[in-house]
Symmetry: C2
Subunit: 199 residues, 2 copies
């Protein structure tokens, strides 16, 4: 009987979810079995159910935690006065990149594996993602109207930004990594300059 070791301030459930996020990222939600997960946690599969109610619940927790995280950040940025559109975009972009660097496993999983949620969670997350993209797009459209940003299709720009960021996955997997801050600056520079209206 080897108990699950908690980190300070964390429940055993948290430990399970963290390990699950790692496995879901590596092999995908469907290809990860509960016995797989149990082994990495250091316990028998059945014991997991003392802490979680189902495999699906794990994915739900991951997805909604991350979604809320991003949603509240964009609302915060949006509400900040005296910020140009470009500055707002930079803030959003940097937040995405930082999250992808610090909270890699869960952010990645929530981005790639949400399709395996089932209703009502599926519909819920889909609608959250939609409104997030729309908020992002309207920041861009605002910038176009003000002449800060060149006249492009805003949803396309959003799509580029969000997916570019998720490419940080291959940075994580690469052997010779540049520093995280350098990566961040490079990404922001390339992407923002792509939007900026040139004089």
């Amino acid at each position: 009987m080897a108990k699950i070791k908690r980190n300070r301030n964390g429940t055993r459930k948290d430990v399970i979810i963290a390990k699950a996020a790692k496995l879901f990222r590596e092999k995908g939600f469907s290809a990860t079995s509960m016995r797989d997960l149990a082994e990495h946690v250091g316990v028998e599969a059945a014991s997991l159910y003392n802490h979680i109610s189902s495999k699906a619940e794990i994915l739900q927790e991951i997805c909604f935690k991350i979604a809320n995280n991003f949603m509240s950040h964009i609302e915060e940025v949006d509400a900040t006065p005296n910020k140009s559109a470009i500055e707002k975009i930079q803030a959003i972009l940097r937040f995405h990149i930082k999250q992808m660097l610090d909270n890699y496993e869960e952010v990645y999983v929530s981005d790639r594996e949400w399709k395996h949620l089932t209703d009502p969670y599926l519909s819920n997350i889909q609608s959250q993602r939609r409104t997030y993209r729309q908020r992002f797009a309207s920041v861009i459209e605002d910038g176009i109207r003000k002449g800060e940003i060149k006249p492009i299709d805003a949803p396309t720009a959003v799509l580029i930004m969000l997916h570019a960021v998720s490419g940080i996955e291959s940075w994580h997997r690469s052997k010779k990594k540049i520093a995280g801050e350098v990566l961040e600056d490079n990404m922001v520079q390339i992407l923002v300059d792509g939007l900026r209206k040139q004089a």
Copy 2:
């Protein structure tokens, strides 16, 4: 006994692979069962094995077909004389976008599901992807050296380009789509302007 209907010039195996690509995209490789696939093909699961040898083989065929496709294109572009770095990047980018528009299912699957290959195919595809990215990066580095492109980290730029393109998935899923050509032009413009050295 309902036979698999072939399209002209296509084998029954091709039909199976095409349907599989669609399902693999929608639900992922692991979450797609052979009985699932069989149903969409209009046949019993066991009958599929008259045309393919395993589920794994289907994924292999998809991944390597697409990988070869991209590999031979970049070689072609690379070998073209009298082309600036920017022009080469545009060519590569437009090819990716066109592939993602015309050959959506298979391109997307090969990009997202290659992790489920097993050795030796896994190692093979990993190395192909690596060399592809390196080739792409060296086009960019060439452009930096010639002063066409601003001094940025080339691997980061590659990562942005490739992942941005894969975002076309959400364009496919969206209700109100702009035209494919408009999407292409927008993407190329944003991404290339992000690289270009401003005067």
